[in-house]
């Protein structure tokens, strides 16, 4: 379970997140939506400490990851992340992208890491691409590999930072289908997305951020049909 308490993040004078508190239960799928600049990505990146919070606490399964005593690397091994721009390692083959961290960080043998990687590539439908370099893949394929790479560390939590925003329209579905498939496996997921239909279908809960505040926190059917705040109503009018 992820517990976020009074999270504040500033970049210099700019306060991007203002006192955010929420919980994400184990196995829950949370969609984080809101206008650009609202702090969605920053909030997500605080959960694996790619951004260090200015104030407040984040606890994962009761362990305070914002404490200076916490081993950040250990936390990150357990929290997978998928980026908008994939960030595959271009000098490694697809298979090596998947096996690198499990071998070097988790200490798995080449055979074990390879077996996990092959299984995952099959799950995302890219078995035949194992020996290719990322530059030979389409955007949608790259993102599916990136998801598999994060999963290869066998994390309990997956963070998705606008996973389909950099994709051509016809590739969005193949990536969303993979994420949907994951939602049913019981892994905890936080997804920053602009795909409202997807959020509605997949998420157990929707967090709506605006101007650094957590404005709404509701199940998708309630959020999308009867949003409480004016700001959410305006936002939905524009995007739906």
């Amino acid at each position: 379970m992820i517990r976020i308490e009074h999270l504040v993040k500033s970049f210099g004078d700019l306060e991007v997140l203002k006192d955010i508190s929420t919980d994400v239960a184990t196995g829950e799928v949370v969609a984080i939506i809101g206008p650009s600049g609202s702090g969605k990505s920053t909030m997500l990146r605080c959960i694996n400490l790619l951004e260090v919070p200015t104030a407040g606490q984040i606890l994962i399964d009761g362990m305070e990851i914002t404490s200076p005593k916490c081993d950040i690397l250990k936390v990150r091994q357990n929290v997978g992340m998928v980026f908008q721009h994939f960030n595959l390692f271009p000098h490694k083959t697809v298979l090596d992208n998947l096996t690198y961290a499990p071998m070097k960080v988790r200490g798995l043998s080449k055979a074990d890491a390879g077996k996990i990687a092959i299984d995952l590539l099959a799950k995302v439908g890219l078995s035949e691409k194992a020996d290719q370099y990322p530059s030979r893949l389409s955007g949608g394929q790259k993102q599916r590999v990136a998801i598999a790479r994060a999963l290869a560390m066998q994390p309990d939590i997956m963070l998705f930072d606008e996973p389909t925003s950099a994709l051509d329209p016809e590739m969005v579905k193949e990536v969303l289908d993979v994420i949907k498939g994951l939602a049913d496996t019981g892994i905890t997921m936080c997804i920053v997305t602009h795909e409202m239909g997807f959020a509605r279908e997949v998420a157990d809960r929707v967090l709506f951020l605006d101007g650094g505040y957590l404005v709404e926190d509701a199940p998708p059917d309630i959020f999308f049909s009867t949003p409480k705040s004016d700001r959410a109503q305006q936002f939905l009018e524009k995007v739906l």
Binding site: R76, Q77, N78, M81, N87, F89, H91, V105, Y133
Partner: protein
Amino acid sequence: MNLDFSQIAPSLPFILKGIIVTLQFTLLSAVFGFTLGTLLSLLKISDIKPLRWFAEFYTSIFRGTPLILQLALVYFATPQVIGYRISPIEAGVITFALNSAAYSSETIRAGIMAVDKGQREAAMSLGVPYKLMMLDIILPQAFKNILPALVNESIALLKDSALVSTIGVLDLMRRAQVVAGQTFLYFEPLIVVGVIYYVMVMGLTQAAQVLERRMRRSD
């Protein structure tokens, strides 16, 4: 103008032995220089200010003074200061490595900065520690980008290595001078080593192109 290469023909084996000396010297200087340059470049991008200051100060010293002065200092001053009789080869390799490190550290720093920020974030998000991230993810991509610049640096090293002739290393240049002294012919031996330097630089350029092609495999 009457050139007479036949008179220096007997000295040719003597001159050719200088190729080994020059190549050995360049290789050692490049290996130590680029290794040290990589470490310096990591200091330059460090969050710890004193480390950055040190690396920048170091670079300014080696860029701000003539190479031949540095060479003379290391060779002639070392015995005086620390009492160790340094050999010309040692003095040469040390000076050239230290000097090359100063220059290449700037190049390598730029190469590291040019690697997409997302690569670092991806490695971090997988729990990869800093050292492994640098060695396995960032530096291989950085070196690929700056390979042409490093080849230039190596070529400069190869040619500048002729400076060690001034402290008595029997490299190509020195051997040409020795032959000139024995035969009283200057033009011929100098032309011969000039051609040898040129061929070596061309060879290095070719080798670099092959290496670059291999590294572009993943593109």
